[in-house]
Amino acid sequence: MNEERIRLMTKLAAYEQRKGQENMTINQYYRRDYVSLQMIKTFVCSTIAFVILVLLYVMYQMDELTALLYKIDYKDYLTKLVVLYAVFTLAFQMIAFVVYSQRYKRAHREQKHFLNRLKKVARLSESEETGGPL
């Protein structure tokens, strides 16, 4: 039994079990495609979240809602809402860009490391079979 090969294979198996599947999925994409896709998903999520926040605000104000409806300047109110929405989604787009770019980089690095180890294991097995030097 080759101890080094077994040690490497254990590390490979542990990696595959923990992060292998996730990283493999990420590495199917080009960086730009992956980050763009995640940013689109984040855009949808942040839009839903903004709607929920508005809904909660309406619920919060529900007691004075009738009075508010008579009082407010709709144009001004709508402009504020659009600006808030733009700031909110933009902030989340930036967060998504940073988070998913980092995640892609990490997945790429780990996958590369994994493949290098895999090659080393293959080399070790080959040399064991032929009985030659490593």
Partner: protein, 330 residues
């Protein structure tokens, strides 16, 4: 000290040997505690009062990542809220959805603090959470902690107004809606804002200090973090006129110090007097390196040496020396 270090090594070796059982057991206990606390403090759905249900749910969580415990706890809370009032359950659902969309979608792992924070709030020592996060977790766990604490204060608002919230629409005062009663109680709770702000600040400060390369950084981080936490909580209590018990603030801080020291003992034991400073250079950089050796003690392996002689019969002795048994007779 040596005995303590040996004890630590023994615990580490036990953890190394049995982690396959210890980790699921911790996950089970955490989930069970969360589900029992939810059932105990809400308890609106009488069918869930049977303790077998939390046990079964916790058993399911044992074999799943911690994120599933968070999801199941949220579902359990919503089921109880439906039994109280549909409006309350709707607000609860929207809040949980908001947390999922804005945080847990980004970071599916590391949501343990979302379960631990409300549990410690329930036993009134939540100060432990920011110190533990600052010392041993990634900084984004503070957001999970804030989500957990917001959930705790949301449930507190439900509990405080349960009589009004349980009333049917026709029985209650027309002037107020359940939505506004609940959301105003929840969002106007200054204690929640104070706690979350103090804890986020403490976690960041502890995290930043413990990463410094100064000697005894972890001790300094624990000390400064807890003093800061205590100051912000006491100052905030006075300025915002929040009614939280000073005794529990102090007890919580003491618990945080103890937990911090225990974490330091297990995770970061360095031998500062043996610090070495070395300098070297390559083509591109000049390196100033500070190397601090870890304190490590081999756990003593007890060897049992049998010094009493096994009594041996004359027959066995004769057989061993291949002589007649008669020669051994007196």
């Amino acid at each position: 000290m040596t005995q303590l270090l040996e004890f630590r090594e023994r615990l580490r070796s036990i953890y190394g040997r049995f982690d396959i059982y210890i980790v699921p057991a911790i996950r089970f206990l955490l989930a069970l505690a969360a589900f029992l606390v939810i059932n105990n403090s809400l308890g609106y759905m009488k069918r869930l009062a049977n303790p077998v249900i939390p046990m079964v749910l916790a058993l399911v969580c044992t074999f799943l990542p911690i994120g599933y415990t968070v999801v199941l706890a949220a579902v359990l809370i919503l089921v109880h809220l439906v039994a109280l009032s549909l409006e309350v359950a709707l607000v609860g659902f929207l809040l949980f959805l908001l947390m999922f969309l804005l945080y847990f979608r980004f970071v599916p792992r590391g949501s343990a603090s979302a379960v631990v924070a409300p549990l410690l709030c329930w036993i009134r020592i939540p100060q432990v959470v920011p110190v533990a996060i600052g010392l041993g977790a990634k900084l984004h766990s503070t957001i999970a902690m804030a989500c957990g604490m917001a959930t705790f204060y949301f449930l507190k608002a439900v509990k405080d107004n349960e009589t009004l919230l349980a009333l049917a629409e026709e029985e209650k005062d027309e002037e107020t809606t359940k939505f506004s009663v609940l959301l105003q109680a929840f969002l106007n709770d200054k204690e929640m804002y104070l706690m979350i702000a103090a804890f986020v600040l403490t976690a960041i400060v502890v995290h930043l200090i413990r990463r410094q390369s100064v000697d005894y950084a972890w001790f300094i981080a624990i000390g400064v973090g807890n003093v800061l936490n205590l100051t912000v909580l006491l100052g905030g209590r006075y300025i915002l006129d929040v009614k939280c018990d000073i005794l529990w603030i102090v007890l919580g801080t003491l618990a945080a110090v103890v937990v911090g020291l225990v974490m330091q003992f297990f995770l970061f034991q360095l031998d500062y007097p043996r610090t070495e400073h070395v300098q070297f250079e390559d083509d591109e950089y000049y390196y100033y390196v500070k190397a601090v050796p870890k304190i490590y003690v081999h756990s003593k392996e007890k060897q049992v040496k049998q010094i009493n002689r096994r009594s041996i019969s004359k027959k066995e002795l004769a057989e061993e020396f291949d002589i007649s048994q008669d020669l051994l007779d007196d």
